[in-house]
Symmetry: C2
Subunit: 637 residues, 2 copies
């Protein structure tokens, strides 16, 4: 049932434009910076020790005693993996022999840290080999393996180099031996290896990778007390996670019976991504049906308007339907990246624009907001309301930081953003034997396996004309109609095409070299409203222009956002592109009201309001101008 | 600087009317039920073991080994104390030899549990005498002592019996010896003994009680690391409270330098009550100045419109200014009772209506909401928004129960509500040599020490005429003008009196036997608005009629409250008294809108709204008709 697949990352070459600028930032700033961090070369930044861990693990493999040689979180290895993956994708757009040398060097160190039996994890190799595989609940061995598999596949895809690929095939074989052949019970505390094994399977054709992914998905939650039994068998712990929190670890039921998205939101969407990929690869209808329900659970009832997911810091988790607090949101950057992965795999099973809509919403809003515009600082947590003195301060809001801090002790989000942006082509474009799919509008050159080559020119997401020029080949093209675009027109060579839409895709049956496909999208600013079930957004509206959800910041509104409300019947909301503002953006101006200040906590007279112009900027740009109030939703009256 | 004092509880005799019905409920239902619980005589209710603990402690005092004879929380003794206090107050209105016999019996048991040296606490006496006074942070010895002192004073006040009073004087002497004479460092983890010692001082004239109260208030926070040092010295704990959480235990600074209400909200207001009482008793201007700032911190920036305080379950605590989430509120019943205590003591220092306003707001809304209308079940936590499926369910909302459960393991609130209602006369009326003060309008007979006797007749809080008939004596009367009453008139014998108001009190210089004072209050329903700093209430309004804040429940609104909003320019809001509804109440009907249902989480079109009549009931009556939505604040447009 795989209707089509992501394109290879190297088949999208971004050029000028919004996406290009982000990819360039990843190449110029993020990748070098993160490389330096991995090597502990950045002053004033908490020690990462990632590379040193691999070096020490290699010594341990050679029999040296380095028991004190590990530093960091139990999943510290994954930082190296995500960095390699990001670097690999970046190399596809920006060939760079120096960077490639660095990657090769790091891969050599990783390979040296692999045990003879294929085992690879610096925490356990350095600290205590005997503890291997005794703490799947917390140990992150399979999580780290998964990320390294993804890195290996990425680097192989873009460079053809297979050293890390072989290391990880050997590692997969080790895992298979331990958990399948030898029959040790268990499934990953933090899902990730499932989706990675699927990639490794496709890159190598190694059937055991597919089997192993299927194994992990099939056994999950069948013995829901596995973690409890595991805890009883060992005398050590990492943090002491609650083994009976089935929701947290998505282990309360077999996955085919899980219909509500629960628990740690990153774990959840990584798991669902693997499930969706396996379902489409193996034509598992029951599994796919569960994936559809889980996708709906998230996007119909548990997702912020910014594409953020995870309503609470407690367990970094989903809560319940329609519970979407703006100020205490968790909405981890990694979770929205994972949601893109999940949506992309679902899209492969069915070309339905709802999947692309979610991918686009998550990417242009929460994922991009995760990174400062200069690429130097990152948010884990992406609240939809920030109030200085409350956010980051109140005991209930400690996690909702009002400005991006530097590198974190747990550095999961920064390299995740890097790999996501560097590989955006995979999510933007898809293909099968007959059809080229356009899911997201990303400027650049796209080469499909069919021989069709398109060149995309657009000022998207700030302009709403997207031109695809057919450079080579011919064939069928499918273009997603975004949910926010009430107007949608397509011309080929200037001639309006009769609409032929199915599940939100406009199919152009035949385009050929020289053709110019012009897509016209809705350029009007829209107000967006939440269901009345979402208590936090009662009586409120947010602004959206194209795929960009807007927010209102103190910096543009006399420092006081809480006093503002939108006018229900205001004039059309508009704005002009300003290349000097926030890296180039459109600030919107909307009619609204500003409530006069009161010195009383409560008053029996409604405070007078004065008409005012409310200035809004895209959510992804928030928090780039110092401490201030921010709101996505404002009351409307 | 004590301008006047509370009246003796036995000098208010409630008769027919709202307060009477509540006091009758306390007598008929709450006191007998709680007595049975203390004696473990209620089937299906978690074992209390309170009385058994005293019996076992008496055995321990006699030298028997009963080390396993304690059950319950470390502060279990206080349940007995609060019950005696409630019973004592109730006896003032409802003489009842049977009840008095029960109290005497319980007091005998308590007296028998007192050690020869005056020590009295079943937890330590039963479990390990050696641990006495080694854990002021968590041990609640001073807290339990304080409640028992309050009980002793109350029972002495209403019956003249002094057995418990003597027990507690001896106990106070023991505490004085240990902490003052012998100079052991320390101050109470949970403040309470300070306010109780002030009462004990006034009841007995024992100067050492005053000194001891002053000692605890003076040393608090001077060595802010006292608890940390204490933890280091012992090898046991109760829960392992964080000794360095200065906010939680109000110990970060000397109390005269504390200006923001912080930490555990019940502890906070109990402390401030003791401080205010000491300040006025000793004319300590610096201490009073701190109390004023703390009172403002609470009521100007950290109090719900219902008089609830404590914005978070984390530490059952205050958070930061203007952070007043409705759905995750803690707003513990006990905290609002404590706020009444604090306001009442502040009122004694200065006859300013703002203190009475807060007392009235807390009492008629949060305190009464704490108890089910039948007196059988109680809320600890009093949220201002309840959504079935979220409240009590989501991990962030576990504490916000949508319906009142039965007796709790930690049974602090139910007996606290009982003693508060049973003694409401003390808060309603005050006096000094020249003036009789009317703070709250409570129907019944009030006998002032001056010989002035008033009889109050009113349908308050549902009717807004309050008549005071002078039965005996003559003198000056001061009547509080409530903040919500924009109209306020007084007639004596049918003749309008010229207004003579000072700080919200209308002074009648001379009334005499036979005079009838008629107070006319504003009978109009008002909308109330929060400052724009309160993010949770942006764009919203609540309804208030008299002192009663209203809420909107699903039961009256087709089960769907989230879809409702008030019309900014609707017709006057009104309602009729219905004696059959919720124990007799006025349901209000307000013009508003109901948003049509959407199947989408987000829509680009505003959902159509239909005009509708919104029904609201007093907040204190909420949750008496099963599971349903509830909101105090609704958007207004």
């Amino acid at each position: 049932m795989k209707t089509h697949r992501q394109i290879d990352v190297k088949n999208f070459e971004s050029r000028e434009g919004f996406i290009y600028r982000y990819q360039k930032l990843i190449k110029d700033v993020v990748i070098p910076y993160q490389y330096a961090v991995l090597h502990d070369q950045v002053e004033g930044v908490e020690k990462s020790h990632v590379v040193a861990n691999f070096e020490n693990a290699a010594r341990a493999v050679r029999g040296e005693d380095v028991r004190d040689g590990f530093y960091g979180m139990v999943f510290q290895d994954s930082d190296a993996a995500k960095w390699i993956e990001a670097a690999a994708y970046s190399l596809a757009t920006f060939p760079d022999p120096e960077l490639e040398k660095k990657v090769d060097g790091l891969i050599d160190k990783i390979a040296a840290a692999q045990d003879e039996d294929g085992y690879l994890n610096t925490y356990f190799t350095i600290k205590d080999k005997e503890k291997r595989w005794t703490n799947l609940l917390e140990g992150h061995e399979l999580y780290c393996a998964g990320h390294m598999m993804e890195a290996a596949v990425a680097y192989y895809e873009t460079t053809g180099k297979d050293k890390l690929l072989k290391v990880m095939q050997k590692n997969a074989a080790h895992i298979y031996r331990h958990l399948v052949t030898e029959g040790h019970e268990g499934y990953p505390g933090h899902p990730e290896v499932e989706l990675a094994l699927m990639k490794l399977y496709r890159a190598t054709g190694d059937q055991k990778c597919l089997e192993l992914a299927k194994h992990f998905i099939d056994v999950r939650g069948v013995n829901r007390d596995f973690y409890k039994q595991e805890v009883e068998k060992r005398d050590w712990k990492v943090w002491g996670n609650d083994a009976s929190d089935y929701d947290y670890q998505q282990s309360g039921k077999p996955v085919r019976e899980q219909f509500d998205a629960t628990g740690h939101s990153v774990r959840a969407v990584y798991l669902y991504t693997g499930m969706a990929d396996l379902a489409s690869e193996t034509e598992d209808q029951e599994l796919l049906a569960a994936c559809k329900k889980l996708f709906e659970s998230i996007t119909d009832r548990r997702m912020y308007v910014t594409g953020g997911i995870g309503s609470t810091v407690l367990g970094e988790a989903f809560t319940v339907d329609y519970n979407l607090p703006n100020d205490t949101a968790y909405a981890e950057t990694c979770a929205s990246i994972g949601l893109m992965f999940f949506a992309s795999r679902m899209l492969e099973t069915e070309a339905d624009s709802k999947y692309g809509d979610v991918m686009e919403r998550a990417f242009y809003n929460t994922v991009l907001a995760g990174m400062q515009l200069d690429g130097k600082k990152f948010f884990y947590v992406n609240p939809l309301e920030v109030i200085p003195g409350v956010s980051g301060v109140a005991v209930t809001h400690k996690h909702d930081l009002p400005v991006r801090p530097g590198w974190y002790t747990c550095a999961c989000c920064p390299p995740n953003v890097a790999r996501c942006i560097a590989s955006i082509g995979k999510y933007a474009y898809g293909e099968n034997e007959t059809t080229a799919y356009i899911h997201l509008f990303a400027e650049g050159k796209i080469s499909f396996e069919s021989g069709l080559v398109l060149e995309c020119e657009t000022g998207y997401p700030y302009e709403f004309k997207v031109a695809y020029r057919v450079i080579e080949g011919s064939g069928r093209v499918a273009i997603r109609r975004p949910d926010w675009s009430s107007k949608f027109g397509i011309c080929i060579n200037g001639v309006q095409v009769q609409e032929q839409c199915e599940k939100g895709y406009w199919y152009l049956d035949y385009v050929k070299e020289g053709d110019v496909i012009e897509v016209s999208l809705d350029d009007r600013v829209k107000k967006i409203y939440a269901s009345s079930r979402v208590a936090s957004d009662s009586g409120c509206a947010a602004l959206q222009r194209g795929p960009l959800v807007y927010c209102v910041e103190g910096a543009d509104n006399d420092g006081d956002v809480l006093a503002l409300s939108y006018a229900e019947k205001g004039a059309a909301i508009a704005g002009e592109y300003d290349s000097a503002l926030l890296g180039g953006t459109v600030m919107l101006t909307a009619d609204g009201y500003r409530s006069q200040k009161s010195t009383s906590l409560y008053t029996y007279e409604k405070l007078k309001t004065d008409p005012c112009a409310i200035k809004a900027v895209p959510y992804y740009t928030w928090g780039n101008r110092g401490l201030g109030e921010m709101r996505v939703w404002l009351p409307e009256k």
